[in-house]
């Protein structure tokens, strides 16, 4: 029993932190926020060179072959730096579907270029109903003459505009027994009939799109896993991606906490640093308590993910429900402690608040996950 990182893991963290400090300062984040796609090819190449795109992909497919714990460490640092662009959707979402659901030929075709950074991808799961459970999947794929035809609209799809590949979670069976009859498809983003429309969102560091399918043809060998068996695969990816997002959120919470504490030490009011006032000290202490407790939940969940243990869903839901509340609270307090300064566009505090709110609803809000916990513990 050792609930702390190894020297190698600490080195990975340190390298990630130093790299992102130089290559992804908030100046760049702001610049990308105002750009069309919110994506930097140079930053992407840096992450490729660091080996992050192939971090958890086996060496046989061109990856580094490390575990989910190492991925969580890097994601935490990415969350701290508010890394924009498609790393999360490519590696943590699509990458894990491809890892879990593909045959060897498909791995050569998609996983190898993904590991080497040549392929960017995303997953289109959610729809206008805003649901994360299997009942929310209504986009249909019909089998016809040895191929599939997809029709319907996906909403809130991350980074679809720059993805080469969009993995679509679609219904091939009936709505009865909702978890049955769901199939995963690899769809070329340039396929005829596929339209990507940007959404204007609160957090511009990560872009969301509407993706509509109109008679989009997908060859049968683009099915990932078995026809009708997609939900169990997606559910496990969902759990791991949730934990990965939580790692980012903890990094963001830490950044907001550091910002607030540093400011409170230097800002003088009533003739003394505001950090010497007990009311501020107690706010900061609570911010630390929430950040550290979220961190404990996330590290434990990341370990469970690395072991593919049975209680993956439970640990993912504990981490997400707790981290949602913690990140929102800490970023809100960060603005409060900065006073008027924290309300300005120029200050970085709002970037974290917006990330917190976007992350909070991604992969389910706290109420969704608490209800899931209730079911899992037999309530």
């Amino acid at each position: 029993m050792e609930f702390g990182f190894t020297e190698e893991q600490q080195m990975i963290r340190q390298q990630a932190a130093e790299c992102l400090k130089h290559e992804c300062p908030t100046g760049l984040v702001r610049q990308l926020m105002e750009s069309e796609h919110g994506y930097s090819h140079e930053l992407w190449q840096t992450m490729v060179e660091m080996g992050w795109t192939g971090l958890i992909i086996p060496e046989a497919y061109g990856g580094v072959g490390l575990s989910f714990v190492e991925l969580a460490i890097v994601l935490e640092e990415m969350g701290r730096a508010l890394v924009p662009g498609s790393f999360f959707s490519t590696v943590v979402l699509a990458g894990q579907v491809l890892l879990a659901a593909t045959n060897d030929q498909q791995k050569q075709c998609w996983l190898v270029p993904l590991a080497s950074g040549k392929l960017r991808a995303t997953v289109a799961a959610t729809e206008s109903n805003g649901r994360w459970d299997a009942g929310g999947i209504t986009v249909r794929a019909e089998h016809q003459n040895g191929q599939f035809l997809i029709n319907g609209t996906k909403l809130f799809v991350p980074d679809a505009h720059i993805a080469d590949l969009i993995i679509c979670v679609a219904r091939t069976g009936s709505m009865e027994g909702v978890e049955q009859g769901i199939t995963l498809f690899a769809v070329n983003r340039h396929a005829p009939g596929l339209t990507v429309t940007p959404l204007k969102t609160l957090d511009q560091t990560r872009r969301l799109y509407e993706v509509s399918f109109e008679q989009v043809q997908v060859p049968a060998h683009y099915v990932l896993g078995e026809v009708g068996q997609g939900w169990t695969i997606w559910e496990r990816v969902f759990d791991k991606a949730t934990i990965g997002l939580c790692a980012e959120m903890v990094g963001g919470a830490q950044a907001a906490l550091d910002m607030a504490v540093n400011y409170s030490k230097s800002r003088i009011q009533f003739g003394r640093p505001i950090g010497s006032f007990q009311s501020l000290q107690h706010r900061c202490a609570d911010m630390l308590l929430l950040t550290e407790s979220a961190r404990s939940a996330v590290y434990a969940a990341a370990w469970v993910a690395s072991q593919d243990a049975n209680d993956l869903s439970l640990q993912a839901s504990i981490a997400k429900s707790y981290t949602n509340d913690a990140y929102r609270y800490v970023t809100g307090e960060c603005i409060q402690i900065h006073g008027g300064m924290g309300f300005t566009w120029e200050h970085d505090a709002h970037l974290y608040l917006k990330r917190a709110k976007a992350d909070e609803v991604t992969f389910g809000d706290a109420a969704f996950h608490r209800e899931r916990i209730a079911k899992l513990i037999g309530l």
Partner: protein, 398 residues
């Protein structure tokens, strides 16, 4: 990072579980319930129980062998506490003060003679200890304590009053913080004494608390003579000793609370399935489900927080101010958990011990009241936040 246990640790867990299965008396909970009426019997039982654990090598296992321990790792200690809590075994009588506070203080700051004299008898429960820190005007501001000790010949002569001394009537010794230099700044003039509770001049007056019980006492010291050799850590060095004690109190001993909180929550979850609210099982109430799921998460997270802290201690050798995070976390969540139980029981939350119709014989209202103590003792939540702000976050002193 590796959250699995080693084969040796698993084996130790198995050993403890088997021992408890064989030796834990089946009827001890009846005795516990009647403790307010038959306190002497209850105390005698607890002494016997700890003696048994000691003879089996299961008391103070992380202590060095020469003082009666087995030099076990902290993980093994956690396993023992977890298994004790899981078996719902009674706590050792001398654990929360004797083993967890007095032991570390003497081990870190005591003389070899003090170690030989006191440590083994703490483990065997031959001598029971209490803690004399708080005073009427020195609670959270512990350093402003006024109990005086004058050096006279080869002794200290103690005068003053202490409050909130647990089980004082049943104690043989206490650790006592006294002011030995009134002219020094308040943290610098304090000494740490080991005091025989049967010394002439000590008067004990039990304090009835909001639960109706009297676990604590006020203790008065009138010209109490304490031999010079009972000083720990040097004259006027008592504050450092006290800080060692408090760091232990706030830190890893919380694992026992963690398992207890989990057991209590499991009980509450079972209860919500049987207990009806608004014409249906309480477990089907959406808001209550949310609160119970949150409580469940918090209990899990407390465990993770403790294990992270333990790993840190094993790597650095001592508990840091991070133990304040654990204390703040568990005491606040304990209060929330008991509030959920009371909310769930509705009208029945009023029915206490021995009332007709009381659920679980009135355990919930009792636990609800008792949970108000956790955020006050061992440094209030406000004190923990001060420590976190100043010593973990490095914010300027107020």
């Amino acid at each position: 990072m590796n959250l699995n246990y080693t084969p040796e640790e698993e084996q130790f867990r198995h050993h403890v579980r088997a021992w408890l299965n064989e030796h834990l008396p089946r009827d001890w909970q009846q005795l516990a319930r009647a403790q307010s009426k038959r306190m002497d019997e209850w105390m005698a039982f607890l002494k016997r129980w700890q003696r048994q654990l000691y003879e089996a090598g299961l008391a103070g296992i992380s202590w060095p062998k020469q003082y009666g321990g087995r030099g076990a790792t902290m993980i093994e200690q956690l396993i023992l506490i977890e298994e004790m809590a899981r078996a719902q075994a009674p706590n050792m009588l001398n654990i929360s003060i004797g083993i967890e506070l007095v032991g570390p203080a003497i081990m870190h700051h005591g003389t070899e003679a003090q170690k030989q004299r006191y440590l083994p008898k703490i483990l065997s429960a031959e001598e029971i200890w209490s803690q004399g820190f708080s005073e009427p005007a020195a609670g959270s501001d512990l350093a402003s304590l006024q109990t005086r000790a004058l050096v006279k010949d080869d002794s200290f002569v103690v005068n003053g009053q202490k409050v909130w001394m647990s089980w004082a009537e049943y104690s043989d010794y206490c650790i006592l913080l006294v002011r030995t230099d009134p002219t020094a700044p308040k943290h610098k003039g304090i000494s740490f004494l080991l005091v025989d509770m049967r010394s002439p001049g000590i008067t004990i007056r039990p304090t009835k608390q909001i639960t109706g019980e009297a676990e604590f006492s006020e203790v008065f010291f009138d010209d109490v003579v304490v031999p010079r050799e009972n000083l720990v850590g040097g004259l006027n060095q008592g504050w450092n000793v006290a800080m060692t004690v408090l760091a232990h109190e706030r830190g890893t001993s919380a694992i026992g609370y963690q398992v207890r909180l989990r057991t209590e929550l499991d009980g509450l979850i079972r209860l919500t399935k049987q207990f009806e609210r608004n014409g249906r099982p309480a477990s089907q109430d959406p808001l209550l489900r949310q609160k119970l799921a949150q409580a469940y998460s918090e209990v899990e997270i407390l465990k993770h927080n403790i294990y992270r802290a333990v790993t840190q201690i094993m790597r650095t050798g001592k508990p840091g101010p991070e133990s304040s995070i654990i204390k703040l976390f568990w005491s606040e969540m304990d209060r929330r958990q008991k509030e959920i139980g009371m909310e769930m029981l509705g009208l029945y939350s009023q029915l206490v011990h021995e009332s007709k119709g009381a659920i679980d014989d009135g355990w919930w209202p009792h636990a609800f009241l008792w949970s108000r103590a956790g955020t006050i003792y061992a440094g209030s939540s406000e004190i923990q936040r001060n420590i976190i702000a100043e010593r973990v976050l490095g914010m300027p002193k107020g």
